[in-house]
């Protein structure tokens, strides 16, 4: 299955401070801390496993502004 048919989240590496609150929040373990570091010196989180249900818990838990954007897959037939 391609990316088009799945929910996903986008984590802005510039805005993530790597606190990992989203990782704990995600009920499906979709998020992990990556190995790269961003300009602020934080190891930022990244979307890893594509089991996302677009529940938004990571979005609501995240303490940064707009670090996470949640995308919902298109409805069937849409």
């Amino acid at each position: 299955m391609g990316l088009e048919e799945k929910n996903f989240i986008e984590i802005n590496p510039k805005r993530c401070k790597g606190c990992a609150a989203c990782i704990v929040a995600c009920p499906h373990g979709c998020i992990e801390i990556g190995s790269e570091i961003n300009q602020m010196g934080y190891q930022f989180a990244r979307f890893a496993v594509r089991k996302c249900i677009a529940c938004g818990l990571c979005f609501y838990t995240c303490p940064e502004f707009g670090a996470i954007t949640v995308y919902k897959k298109p409805r069937k037939g849409a």
Binding site: C19, V24, P63, E64
Partner: protein, 473 residues
Amino acid sequence: MHTIKHQKARSLYPTFERKAPGADVSHYCPGCGHGTVHNLIAEAIDDLGIQDRTIFCSPVGCSVFAYYYFDVGNIQCAHGRAPAVASAIRRTNEEAIVISYQGDGDLAGIGMSQIVHAANRGENITVFFINNAIYGMTGGQMAPTTILGQKTVTTPEGRNAANEGFPIGMAEIISSLQAPVFIERVSLANAAKVMKARMAIRKALRNQVDKKGFSFVEILSPCPVNWKMTAVEARRWLENNLEPVFPVGNLRDLPKGPFDRVDKKKVARISNKKILEILGVGEEEVHAGTVQLQEEQNIKIAGFGGQGVLSTGILLANCAIAEGLKTTWLPSYGAEMRGGTANASINISHTTIGSPIVSFPNVLMVMNLPSLDAFEDTVRPGGAIYVNSSLAPRKVRREDVAAYHIPVSDMANNLGAIQSASVILLTVYALVSGAITIETLQKVIPLSIKRKNLVDLNMRAIEAGIAWYGENC
């Protein structure tokens, strides 16, 4: 096509113009609860469609910089006084949605009195109380809500009830009052609880939109840095240690406020004349009302403290009031009384004045060289600059403004009181601009000056200004 289900709220600025680097991120530490609450409030503001009438009262504490993030009206309140400020906004602006956002040091410490009385009056405002059981901004000192045994910078052995008292449950204190309509304590310990916090925040704001009354949401929030934990550990600690002391849950949710509000339209208004009578100033009023302004006057008067810069501004504003014009006066001065720099912004207009701030004046009166250097470039083209040439030896460099160089300090010295220099400058301004008349100035001066023995001197200063104008203009 994928649809965006959750994204940054519209009531947060796209980028943050803050002094520290990082236009994309908050100034909060990684894992701080403030950002989460900001996001939840911003989303609620978006969804309720109240962005254009929301006024956010930010506290002293880490969230002092909320104005960097929220694209709504903002007042940064003195420490702990946000509920008082919010009450004032509520009483003067019925349409505003007033949010008081406070931390534990702010609300439960220095501001305890303000929050209790605002709640007791049942002001139709929404208070968000961020309780992280520690003073975050100042580096982790004990807060009123610090739990027993919790180690902080000021309780290195842990908080001890015999020494520092017990942690204060604010939600319980508020719920002992009759007036509040909604009181809930929520937690940010995990995602499910964040979603409950989201509902409480929305409800508290919705109540205000529905004019129900005072809503209070206490949010238990992690402070990983000062608790000396990771963000994840902090959330676990919050759940295991803070929540037993401060049990989460709803304490009150009334369908409507416990009293009917006074309908302002039905209350007889006290006339301005009556107020002046009560204050005992009614008879001293000066009414001229003959001036027609060529254009709105945005005036900056600048000089050293002690040169009469601020009081001249008040004098000018009082004259404008006497002329029946609208006016504002806004002082700005350093910590020093005398010798420091000072300036006053005065607006004079026929119509209501939106802001008292004058960034680009069309009239500049400067009493010394540093002020001329500082403000010369801000004057709008076609404006006028009045310079005290006794203390500002150089000429005005701008060619697109009218410049008047008047040796007012020397002239005032000759009259016997150097303090009256600014009045001479004001006199010349009055004659050149016609914004106020000399007759009004002469009538207002005795009312504006506290030391009555200086009235004559200032009258002579006016004469000196008139004489200079006659000779030079």
